[in-house]
């Protein structure tokens, strides 16, 4: 797969993701134009900040429907950070429950740890997500988040990571949909390899 669309719905640092995808060999189009994105082979959904704010922007921009349509058509999709979290059924923040896109069962909840945000380079147990982590066993990836899905998740292949004894879903795969809680575009050579693995897998 070469032609990848990066969904611009007003969330996050798109430059880094676009550059990292392009270094990994993709022909990247950053766009908020759903019709333009539909002509491409793969879709990358970034996201930073709060679950509710991201879901709101995704819903208003039509991005949420595009993601559902993309998954239903079994086309390759990669969610990053909050772009991973919104693929779950729900997000719980400050007592507020926000419906997610619902491609994965379960909820994204506050991490149970004293030191938050969970910020920095952590190891990942690839679990049964063999494609994404090929050649990456033992590598560290850059995380920055205070919420996560505790897992395990029904019908989803999951890689996990641990922070202060709390284990959570670090990456997920279901059909043609993949996503990472960490930032591969900020994870140096290991992140570049993961992105290349995703591109090669489709």
């Amino acid at each position: 797969m070469r032609r990848v669309g990066l969904l611009d719905y007003g969330s996050g640092n798109l430059h880094s993701a676009a550059r990292a995808l392009s270094v990994a060999g993709a022909d990247v189009t950053v766009s908020s134009d759903l019709a333009e994105l539909r002509t491409l082979d793969g879709l990358v959904v970034p996201g930073v900040g709060a679950f509710a704010a991201c879901m709101d922007s995704l819903s208003r921009s039509g991005g949420a429907d595009l993601i559902r349509e993309w998954a239903a058509a079994e086309r390759p999709l990669l969610g990053i950070c909050v772009g991973h979290q919104v693929l779950f059924d729900q997000g719980h923040e400050h007592g507020l429950v926000t419906p997610g896109i619902g491609l994965y069962e379960g909820a994204v909840v506050a991490l149970e740890a004293r030191r938050l945000p969970h910020m920095g380079w952590n190891t990942v147990d690839p679990g049964d997500t063999e494609i994404l982590f090929e050649g990456l066993h033992g590598e560290r990836f850059y995380f920055v988040h205070s919420y996560a899905a505790p897992g395990p998740v029904t019908a989803v292949r999951a890689a996990t990571a641990e922070h202060e004894g709390s284990r959570f879903v670090a990456a997920a795969q279901r059909g043609t949909v993949s996503s990472t809680q960490f930032h591969p575009e900020k994870s140096g050579a290991a992140g570049a390899r993961l992105i290349a693995n995703w591109l090669r897998g489709h």
Partner: protein
């Protein structure tokens, strides 16, 4: 396995060049920011911090352009601070390619801006930079300074760190103005005092001279260690610091 202790080279940037002085005076040119960033990243830096000490809006624009060039080639997190006063300043830096934004004087002038930034972008983008030194009149004995340590802000450093966390900063960069540029070691006493009151990640800054200094800061509870001179003038490499931390039993990348 746990999250690794981060080693962060800091680049003080003035009108597009990296500079370094002792206690923010006698600035010397230390190189091209983008070249240095790439070199540090290749050497194992876990993150990079740019502090823009330009005084003009032209200087700030030059910094944003430099950050954008950096983000093109360096795939590790970039924090940029300097001149951040409003939500719109954060927006400009994030759009330029920064992953996190440092705030210092702007937050002292109007603490509510912390709440505003955290509400719009989340607390994970916001690093409170605290330039503090011993100040006998303060309840904790440590006071916040402004203007590169030349003026007292009239605020207790420990109380300020606590308040900023309550308002929504996601990380604290604690810079000792007593130790800055001296290479005599981090201010362990101040680091320990701040560690006791904040749960967000804490970055130790100011005074690094030897590998053992970094180990001392890690033992005092720092989640990350930051230094400028020792890396710019090549008295230590990032790899040497990480080897020392690993030998002392800390997890590093």
């Amino acid at each position: 396995m746990a999250v690794a202790l981060r080693v962060i080279p800091c680049l003080d940037v003035h009108d597009g060049r990296v500079v370094k002085g002792v206690n923010f005076t006698n600035l010397r040119d230390a190189g091209d920011p983008v070249e240095l960033a790439a070199k540090y990243s290749a050497d194992g830096a876990d993150e990079l911090t740019f502090l823009d000490i330009s005084a003009s809006s032209d200087g700030r624009a030059t910094t944003r352009e430099m950050v954008a060039r950096c983000a093109e080639t360096v795939f590790i997190p970039l924090t940029v601070g300097g001149g951040v006063r409003e939500v719109s300043d954060v927006d400009l830096l994030l759009r330029a390619g920064a992953d996190k934004v440092g705030i210092n004087t702007g937050a002292l002038a109007r603490p509510g801006v912390i709440d505003e930034i955290a509400r719009v972008f989340g607390n994970q983008v916001l690093v409170l930079s605290v330039d503090a030194r011993r100040e006998p009149g303060m309840p904790s004995g440590f006071g916040v300074t402004t203007h590169g340590g030349r003026r007292s802000a009239g605020v207790d450093a420990i109380e300020w760190a606590r308040e900023a966390c309550d308002r929504g900063v996601g990380e604290i960069l604690l810079n000792s103005m007593d130790a800055d540029g001296t290479t005599d070691g981090f201010d362990i006493e101040m680091l320990t005092a701040v560690r006791q009151v904040v749960d967000v990640p804490l970055i130790a800054s100011g005074g690094a001279g030897t590998v053992e200094h970094f180990v001392e800061a890690a033992r005092a509870g720092a989640d990350a260690v930051l230094a400028a001179s020792v890396f710019h003038y090549q008295s230590l490499t990032v790899a040497e610091v990480k080897d020392g931390l690993r030998t002392a039993g800390f997890e590093v990348r």
